[in-house]
């Protein structure tokens, strides 16, 4: 067997010669233990269960008013921006960080796309590319401050939030670009808002983009080396470094990617609200963190699945629409979401308490 350790490329030769392999040894731990194990392996199960039960309950209470392709896809439209931003937030939180500047990056990117087009007359595709580039650059700067200067992510992004938001207001002079102008002169900016109909279900490009983004990220995080490195960095950065992961590079890439995704969210925001408004999207920070936490991603990093984030965002959307259709006070939504947040973190703690 010494040749296998010398030459890792020929490992398959060893496979055929060894008959015995380490085998799965089934131990019965009772229902609760098994449930804990299942949730440990698939952390997005909890939000999925909550999501499905919420849809079923509201469906039973409201009937076809809620349980229609139109209403269900309306939820998707309402959560698309939060969903995209929460995807960015997810990858940052997976590295045990947090990004408080997501909302500011989103708004600033949308303002750049709008102002570059209308103030300087730059062709729309280039203006959009500039917006995406600025978002990425701000994200990369966050990442550089976190990874190289070793400042806590909370502080870095808290500062960046103020800086970007202030720059956004100064640069835009608090000016809104009207929807009609965009529609007439630069319809590409509203691309993400264009709708199409599939048998009563209304989708927008933004919704499709959000879903694709989540699935691509889920693939990347689960099936590529880079994705595994993101988890390892969040789990234990020192261990990751010692086992050969370039922690700093990974962190900078994660924050830069988060910035890019936020810039796309900015583009989608123009499609959603029609206009370019420097005062929009102020709640994106807190809503994205809410979606991530309800989605079961651990704030301590390294645990959770981005699909959970999608479910988390959808849970918020289902509650909001369902309670509104029931005629309940909007405060009930916030109250329930507050409970969900605490319950989600409690579940996370329970799952982490693994004994075997």
């Amino acid at each position: 067997m010494s040749d296998t350790s010398q030459n890792a490329d020929k490992y398959e030769a060893a496979v055929s010669t060894s008959e015995q392999v380490a085998e799965f040894e089934d131990t019965h731990k009772g229902f609760v233990g098994q449930l804990q194990h299942i949730l440990h392996v698939n952390p997005s199960f909890v939000p999925l269960i909550v999501l499905v039960s919420a849809i079923v309950i509201f469906g039973l209470l409201l009937g076809s008013k809620f349980f229609s392709p139109f209403a269900l896809t309306l939820i998707l439209q309402q959560v698309q921006i939060v969903g995209i931003v929460a995807a960015a937030q997810s990858i940052v939180i997976l590295t045990a960080g947090i990004d408080l500047s997501v909302g500011a990056i989103m708004v600033f990117s949308s303002v750049i796309m709008g102002q570059f087009t209308f103030r300087y007359g730059i062709p729309v595709p280039i203006a959009i590319a500039c917006g995406l580039a600025v978002g990425t650059a701000i994200g990369a700067l966050n990442g550089w401050l976190v990874a190289r200067v070793k400042l806590p992510p909370f502080i870095v992004t808290l500062g960046m939030w103020q800086i970007v938001l202030a720059t956004n207001f100064l640069y835009s002079a608090n000016e809104t670009i009207r929807s009609q102008d965009i529609e007439k002169n630069a319809p590409l900016l509203q691309l993400f808002g264009s709708k199409f109909n599939v048998g009563g279900a209304v989708f927008t490009v933004g919704v499709v983009f959000m879903l694709c983004l989540i699935f691509v990220l889920a693939y990347v995080l689960r099936h590529t080396a880079w994705g595994r490195h993101v988890y390892a960095v969040g789990d234990d950065p020192e261990a990751a470094e010692l086992s050969g992961v370039n922690v700093k590079k990974t962190l900078i890439q994660v924050y830069a990617l988060a910035g890019l995704i936020c810039a796309f969210a900015g583009w989608a925001l123009i499609g959603r609200i029609g206009s370019v408004s420097p005062t929009s999207g102020q709640l994106a920070n807190i809503e994205s963190i809410t979606a991530v936490v309800i989605g079961g991603i651990s704030l301590f990093g390294g645990r959770g699945s981005i699909l959970g984030t999608l479910f988390g965002a959808l849970i918020v959307g289902v509650f909001t629409l369902g309670l509104r259709l029931l005629g309940a006070d909007a405060q009930w939504t916030f109250l329930l979401i507050g409970i969900l947040i605490i319950a989600a973190v409690a579940t996370d703690q329970w799952i982490r308490k693994v004994s075997g």
Binding site: Y11, E12, A14, H223, D236, E238
Partner: protein, 257 residues
């Protein structure tokens, strides 16, 4: 015989503290070299200096007679030096297979691997399972279980298996039995012998004298940031070694280094 890994005049200072004070180091091919020393003697710094985890302020390191300048553990790994750190350097939430391949993942062949950069999960799992079986770690339940669900001894076993699987020139074990029970320590010592029998030299840093004396071919005694002496465990008692380590006794003469 030329040492496979050689350090000369290594110096490392942390502020006003000199952790390595013109220290020499030799590892011969095929041997198990024990490294002992009192707390704070600089054992860990020495090992980190030859494995790339710290960059020495002065001095040189040779691998196989070639001068090397590792600036990160990744460099040392690429040169064939694998280290099992005291902290094990594993990501608790990730699976055994993920941990074994961390930083050197196998990608699928063809389009999926080249363009979509998809990992070859089944090949990695097969390889990991095979390595664990080879080292007799049969009680691992499932290659996809998270490392945090393993016992201390199993984790140590996985870390040693990882080093043994990829370390082609030198394997360094930092306190491999410190956190283990009697049975588990025995298992790890067997693993060490197993790895040695394949001709790979091992550096064993430990506080546990019986373990060091049992498996080592030579023992490097570290004191006050430098190599005090080399002893042969067959000619010296453990109390001699402890006396040298603590400065209670001066070594008479150096064994051929």
């Amino acid at each position: 015989m030329e040492p496979i890994l050689k350090g000369r005049n290594l110096v490392k200072r942390y502020g006003r503290v000199t952790a390595l004070d013109h220290c020499d180091f030799d590892l011969m091919p095929g041997e198990i070299l024990g490294v002992i020393g009192d707390n704070g003697a600089g054992k860990s710094t020495l090992i980190k200096a030859v494995s790339g985890a710290v960059i020495p302020d002065e001095g040189e390191v040779w691998l196989n007679g070639e001068p090397v300048n590792f600036i990160s553990p990744i460099d040392a790994r690429e040169a064939g030096i694998e280290t099992v750190y005291q902290t094990l350097a594993m990501s608790p939430a990730l699976s055994i297979a993920d941990n074994i391949f961390m930083g050197r993942e196998i990608r699928k062949a063809g389009f999926m691997g080249k363009w979509l950069r998809q990992l070859d999960r089944s090949a990695m799992e097969r390889f990991a399972r095979d390595k664990l079986s080879e080292l007799g770690l049969m009680t691992i339940q499932n290659i996809n279980q998270a490392v945090e669900t393993l016992s201390g001894g199993q984790r140590q076993g996985v870390a040693v298996a990882r080093a043994a699987a990829f370390g082609s020139k030198v394997i360094i074990l930092d306190e491999p039995t410190a956190a283990l029970g009697v049975k588990e320590s025995r298992k790890v010592l067997e693993l060490i012998q197993d790895v040695k029998s394949r001709g790979i030299p091992i550096i064993l840093i430990s506080h546990n004298m019986p373990h060091v004396f049992e498996v080592s071919d030579r023992i490097h005694i570290h004191r006050l940031g430098k190599r005090l002496t080399m002893i042969d465990p067959k000619d010296h008692s453990m109390s001699d070694a402890v006396a040298y380590m603590t400065g209670a006794k001066e070594p008479e003469q150096m064994v051929a280094a």
